[in-house]
Amino acid sequence: MGKIKYLARINCLQPIPCNPCETSCPFGAIYIGDDITNRPVLKSNKCRGCGICVAACPGIAITMAMITGEDNDYVAIPYEYYPMPNIGDVVTLVDSNGVELGKGTVDKFSKPNKNDPTTLVHVVVDCSITDRAVGIKKHVINDDPIICRCEEIFESEIVEAIRKGDRTVEAIKRRTRSGMGICQGKTCNRLVANIIARETGIGANEQMPSSKRPPVGVISIKELSQE
């Protein structure tokens, strides 16, 4: 055994036609095979922990982990949001479903590929969560974000409507007015569907779709009345 080092961890869940991880690896450590929709497999004996595949993955589905054998391990997670955390900050780690696992401390940053802006955040974590920690919870600036911008409906109002029994975008629209504004729900419908999915477990694709009625854009009554 050599010295303790980082190894890539592939958290790729979807069989989609995508292979930058395989082609970017300078050591041939990632294998996809003839069918490009195969999920990548790591040959850990070839991986040197350089992190190039982490930056190359368009789905930020690769992280790195360094198992120390002691109480604390290291994970390196691609982070593509502002504001970036600072070294020494305590951040919340999440699993691939976004479920909070625990806290970690930011140790350093790295950019594996100078031509790729993706930054890896290296975090010291408790060894009990190393296997599952694949993301850093984004710093939330507003804890009650606006959902329907036209009618000024906040997330808490949507959640309240779901608590009262609403299960469709249409029902929430009738109760809260979310989606009844000037943009005709173009911005908020999808957000509302995702909140329903999060709160009830009914997937956004399984919900009854909201009704779509013309006009799809803003027009004046004058335009309608002209022959």
Binding site: R149, E152, I182, C183, K186, T187, G217, V218, S220
Partner: protein, 106 residues
């Protein structure tokens, strides 16, 4: 939003300047640019105020979808400034709530 230099589109050629009136203030715009671009270039970021909380709103999506950048243009409320091009002498007003139409002189 006013793009002068772009890696794909190239540099903007000399453009004719037009004057617009924004809340009784003269603002210089480039012919053919969206109203929102002219306002942003002039340092104006609050285009309207919402009806419930009175919060300022401005450019959000920038492609005509979200209707967050609506203003009163030549007496017509709810005009999406990100997809409406400037014209010489346009009279533009900050919109409160759903806005008012018609009389520009009140």
């Amino acid at each position: 939003m006013r793009i002068i230099k772009h890696p794909i589109l190239g540099d903007v050629k000399e453009k004719k300047k037009v004057n617009i009136n924004v809340d009784n203030r003269q603002v210089e715009a480039l012919e053919g640019e969206p109203i929102a671009a002219a306002l942003m270039a002039a340092g104006i970021r609050a285009f309207r105020r919402t009806i419930k909380t009175g919060e300022p709103r401005g450019v959000y999506c920038g492609i005509g979808q979200c209707n967050d950048c609506i203003m009163e243009v030549n007496g017509v409320p709810n005009v999406r400034t990100c997809v409406t091009l400037v014209e010489e002498g346009m009279i533009i007003r900050t919109q409160i709530g759903l806005g008012k139409s018609g009389d520009l002189d009140d």
